[in-house]
Amino acid sequence: MRNGIRRNVSDRSAARRPLVRTTVAVSVAALAISAGVVATSVGASGRAIKTQTGRAASSSTFVVADTDSVEKLDPDVITNFLDFQALGLIYQQLIQYNTKLKLVPDLATKWSFSDGNKVLTFQLRKGVKFDDGTTFTSADAVASIERALNPKTADASASFLASVTKVVATGKYAIKFELSHPDNSILTGLTSVNFSMLPEAAIKAGTLAKKPDGTGPYEFSSWTPDVSFVVKRNPNYWGGKVSLSSVKIETVPTEQSIASALEADTAQLGLLTTPEVVDALPSSLTVHKVLAEAYRALMLQDKKGPLANVDNRRALECAITRAQVLKDAVFGDGQTIGPVPLGEYASSPISAICPKQNLSSAKAYLKKAGDPSGFTFTAIASDVEDPTDTAQATAVQSELAQVGITMNIENLAGTAYVQDWLAGKFQAAFAENGANPSPYVMYGRYFGAGGNLSTPAGYSSSTLQKLLLEGDTATTTAEQTPIWKKMTKFLTTNAVWVWLFSAYSYGVTVPSVHGFTLAPTTSTTLDALATTTVS
């Protein structure tokens, strides 16, 4: 058949010449067009970069690339990390954390507790204007806090204000919070973008979900969901003139594509979390890194089963080499941690009972627990919630096997994990939890009396509750330090959970960017853009 076709084709050689010529011409032309577009485009690449950079330089449109996208514009209801960072460019709060994680003034110039620490007074900054041109006064501050307190607003951080019974203006530039009980953690809460200062008129008009109106270095320009969020320089900014006239947060869905955008200089700052992508970047790019405001822990439920026995939990803690887990999960790009990973009360990463892996201690604890040959339990994980979960779990699994402890791993879909986690339906859970400079904020919700997350916490103790309450009532660092040390020791000695590590977050800039540093808290990650310049 094949020969027949060939013969037939051969017989028609004369007849097909025009066809051959035409087809060849069409195909070559088509391929030439394709190659031409590629060649012209690539040939224009140099020009394209210069054009782009030229445009960036002339109009100072600074592009920040992130895999995430801005989801909401109302600062009270946001929960997404990027929303905090983006709206953090527009909005300001009463107080904020500085780069050393100490509370410093923002729109409040000073603050103090009085009346047995049940009244908290703020003096407000003068000469501050909102983007709409109105002046910031105590009426705006009171309206902002009252909006956050209103359940209809569904403020994502409203629980921080649970102790507030009333907020009143005591002058044009002063307000006071009346508290039901002494509550030092309210200060940490007030640094959140969820408690931004908003203009009273915009609150009444109900326009904030569509048109942000703040006092920060930038003002809202445009937002295309899942695509980009653009702000422009606020000419009335009280903190002085900012260099970049416009900042665009561009959604680039994969970190590899962000790396490519940086190499092509179509983005000037890329926010990354994956060490392998960062490690592969060319040396011409500058990598800024900061310990992420989150920590990884193996959360344990102590209600039933082998983990109800404190000595079995201690055996877990002694059998695990945290440094190895860090290495396997994020190539060592982070730090092993204790219960308080950052801030002025940061605890030593050394566990109270096993500073390093100690297999003989682990075996001794197992013997004491009555399980000398080990035990079996299941840990849930979710690569969707945390892409490093599988690596963490596998590393821990092999470490525990050395002392006869069998850990089964159940890798769940994101929402299934969240559901089981919230319901406490697990024996152990690999979790990435939010870290905070305030130990009370970190653990009050898990181990405090009536904590919202006491179910997933899986552990309750009156001693722990008492320590948390004492720490929250104390108002000075000197008073708080010994209390948080005691709490840390309690958590590690009783192996309530096993704290593993915190990884780095990365901000990568192109060579033309100067003066950018990555801030240590989510809300302030992009704050340095106010002082960043592009050459």
Binding site: A15, P18, L19, V26, S34, A48, I49, V227, T415, L422
Partner: protein
């Protein structure tokens, strides 16, 4: 012909109705809800009153049939609903994303046809020669290497060697900046077009080889028709039936392929909108976008069938 179109349209409506029910049920059978999807583990920090307010807002707890009836009623009256994440109308989101995906799909199809038909015809006319071997090589590459690898490789190569990644500048429409738009669409279209072209090339080559040896070609020449007419009208037209079939199938699958390619090349199309909405449990958006994909797939098949009928009168019922 009109009767056939009417019959196909009726089938299309029934199919879309079935798709809408399946999508609606599948989304709600998945664990979690809109609150846990958007807040994650932070949902545990909500007070009871906040949770109740959000449940009311998202319509959680209402019976399935009530939710479905409400949604379908809105869709039939042209209201696709509002995105619960961005609080922007779904019609507006789709209206922004659909042209991007359409442009990408058309571009990919065009490149696929040029590669596929070009190499297919040349390969059939020069079997086992250089051009045929080249075409076969391109075809094997396009069929065997996954789209996401071609796309990622292309992006990495262009960015690291040529410092060129036009898509990441932020998508611009063809009316706003035609040259930048062509650059932004060309590479993702080429990525998708390679796979499409590979399959079309195989079909074209095989069909041409089968037709070229048939007697009707000799008969046509014997009737005194010019060579050009014989070749273009009889030979190529007869070989086009399997090519059109393959093109229709490829266009359908190509719509699915845009989901991955839009992610890699930073194109704000329907595929990216779908992925984001699924992870956010933004049901209104997922349901509408899925229906659009289903409708497009069915429409492509319908047009393919109608094209047969037009090209080959023997297939008319």
């Amino acid at each position: 012909m009109l009767r056939q179109i009417g019959r196909r349209l009726f089938t299309m409506i029934i199919t879309l109705f079935g798709v809408s029910i399946i999508i609606f049920l599948i989304l709600r059978l998945l664990p979690g809800n809109e609150v846990t999807a958007s807040l994650g583990v932070s949902a545990g920090l909500l007070s009871h009153s906040q949770l109740a307010a959000l449940d009311r807002y998202f319509g959680i707890g209402k019976p399935f049939y009530e939710q479905y009836g409400s949604w379908l009623g809105s869709v039939l009256t042209g209201n696709l609903g509002v995105s619960l994440q961005s609080r922007i109308s779904v019609a507006s989101l789709v209206g922004t994303a659909l042209p991007v995906t359409l442009e990408l799909a058309i571009g990919a199809m065009l490149i696929g046809e040029i590669i596929g038909v070009g190499f297919g015809v040349l390969g059939a006319l020069h079997p086992a020669k250089f051009v045929d071997n080249l075409g076969q090589g391109v075809s094997i590459f396009g069929l065997s290497v996954p789209t996401f690898i071609i796309g990622t490789g292309m992006v990495t190569l262009l960015a690291s060697v040529f410092h060129y990644f036009p898509s990441s500048e932020g998508f611009v429409s063809i009316t706003a900046n035609p040259w930048l738009n062509i650059q932004q669409i060309f590479f993702p279209a080429l990525t998708l077009g390679l796979g499409v072209g590979a399959a079309i090339m195989k079909s074209t080559r095989t069909a041409m080889l089968e037709v070229i040896g048939l007697n009707f070609v000799r008969t046509a020449r014997g009737k005194g028709l010019s060579r050009r007419v014989v070749i273009w009208k009889h030979l190529l037209l007869a070989a086009m039936i399997p090519v059109i079939t393959m093109s229709g199938i490829q266009l359908g699958y190509l719509l699915g392929g845009t989901v991955v390619v839009e992610d890699i090349f930073v194109l704000p199309g329907l595929g990216r909108l779908l992925i984001t909405s699924i992870s956010d449990r933004d049901f209104a958006v997922v349901q509408s976008v899925t229906l659009i994909y289903a409708a497009a797939f069915i429409a492509v098949n319908m047009v393919t069938d109608l094209l047969y009928t037009w090209i080959d009168p023997r297939t008319r019922a």
